[in-house]
Amino acid sequence: MSEENGKRPWVEMRGIHKWFGGVHALKGVDFHVCRGEVVGLIGDNGAGKSTLIKILSGVFPPDKGEILIEGKRVRFRSPRDAKEHGIETVYQELALVDNLDVPGNIFLGREPALVGGRSLLALLHKGRMMREARALLERLKVNIGDLTALAGELSGGQRQTIAIARALYTEPKLLIMDEPTAALAVQETRKVLDLVRKLKERDIGIVFISHTLQEVFAVADRIVILRKGEKVGDFPAAELAIDDAVKLMVGGEESPTR
C-alpha cells in the first residue's frame, strides 16, 4: 500500500500501538501521507485520532510500531524532533498562549534573537518578530488587525488562524490539523477550509481531523477511518459516501466496499 496514484508516501506509520494504562488506544495502526495530499482522519470520539497524530508529531512515542519519512526510519523524542523533520501540528486543544501577543505566539519556541542565538538568555528581537509575523499573515491573506493584541483577546477564528500561521512559518512538509474548526463559526470554518486547499497546491501533505464529515469530504483526497483504535477503512474520498463512512465509524455492519 505504499503506492497511491503513483505517489510514494512522504511519511509512513507502521503497526502503531499505544496504551494509556489499561486503555489500548491504538491497536496496530498503519497510516501514511503523500506530499500535496489531504488525508481526512475520521472516527468517533475516543477512536484514537488525536493519539495517532500526537505520536506523529512527537508528543509521545508509540509503544510499538515505527515511523518512516521518505522510507527512512525516524524516532521522535519530542515535538521539536518532529518539527525538525518538517512536521507541524495545530492541536485540538487550542495551543496558543493567551497572555502572549500575536507575534509572541507565532514565534513561541523559536524567537529570533538580537544576541545570544538559541540560548535561553538570548535577547528577543521583538521588532523582527512583529515584522515577520505581519508578513506571514499577509502572505496567507489573513487579517488579524492589531497584532499587539493578546491571543486571549481574539476570536476563536482569529486564534485558529494564528495557530495555523504559526505551523506554516517554517514551511513544513506535513501539516497536521486536529479538529481545527471545532470551535469556529461557519464563516470562520470556511476560511480555514480555503486555507487548507491553498496549502495543498504548495505540495504540503495535510492530515485533517474533524467531526463534521461534510468538511472532511470537502477538502480530503483520501479518507482514513479509525474505530476503537483500529483502522477500519482507507478510501479515496471520491469513492466513499458519507453514509458509508458513518457506518464504518460506528461499526456494527460489514464494510460496504470491501
Binding site: R80, D98, G104, R110, E111, L121
Partner: protein, 317 residues
Amino acid sequence: MEPKAWLRRINRNRVLFPLGALVLLVIVASSLSRHFLTPMNIKNVLSQVSIIAILAAGEACVILTGGIDLSVGAVLAISGSVTAVLLKWAGVAMPLAILGGLGVGVLAGALNGLMVAWVRIPSFIATLAMMAVARGGTLVLTNGRPVSGFLRSFRAIAGYAGPLPLLFLITFGVYVLWQLALSHTRFGRYVYAVGGNETGTRFVGVNVRRVKLLVFILAGFCAAIGGIMLDARLNAAYPTAGEGYELDAIAAAVLGGVSLSGGVGSLVGTFFGALVMTVLGNILNLLKVGAFYQYIAKGLILAVAAISLSRGVKFAK
C-alpha cells in the same frame, strides 16, 4: 467600552493597583503618625523593604510560571546561617562565605525545581518539604542558637551609599535585572508562556522543565541574598530568621498584580507590592500594634488581595 474590554485594560495595567494602594497607604500613614515621613523612618522602611522585596522577586518569578515557593523564608535562614557559620566559626574569607550562602540557596532552589519539574510533585508540597528541611538544617547547623558579631567589612553591606541604604540599592539592582530578563529575554518569555499555557508551550518544543528549574533556582538565589542581607543588618544570623517571610513575599507578589494562576504580572508591580507590605508593617509598628495582630492583618490582606485580584483577571476564553 464593553465590560470585557474594560477588564482587559485593567489586566494589562496591573501596576496601577499596587501603586495606588501604596500612595493611599503613605497618605494615611503620614496623617496617622508624625514619625512616618522622618528621614530616619524612611531609611528604615527602605532597608526593611529590601529583604522582603528580594524574596518577592524570586517568588514572583515562580508564581508567574504558575507555581509557588513556600520555602523562601527557610532558605533565607539556612543561607544566612551558612554564611554566618563560615564567617564566625570556620574563619572563611568574606567573599567565600557569601558565595557559600548563595550556593546553599541555589542548591535548595535547584532541589525544589527538580522535585517540581522532574518528579512532578505539586510545588506547594515540594517547597513545603523544603521549608521543613531547610529550617531543620538551620537549627542543626547552629544548634538552635544565634551566630552573631560580624566584622565591620561584612556589616558594611547594611551600610549607606550617600543617603540610600546599600541593601536597597542591591535589591533595586536585582529588580532592574530581573525585570529586563523577564521582558526581553527568551527565558522571560517562556516564564510567562509556561504560566499562561504550560501544555501549549511544551507542544511547541520549549523545554518547560528547564524553565521551571531556573525559576526555582532564581527564587533560592534571591532568598540567599536576603539571608546574607539580614545577617549584615542584624549583625547576627538567627535560626528563626525569615519565619513567615514567605507570606510577605507571596503577598507582595499578589498585591503587585501577579496572578496566582500564572502568566500575568510584573516585577515592577511586585516591588510596589513589597513596599505596601513593608509600609503597612511599619505603620502598625509606629501605632504600636503588636506583632501578633500584624500577622493577622497581613494574612487578611493577602486573602483580600487574592480574592479581588483573581476575579476577572483570567482572560475571557
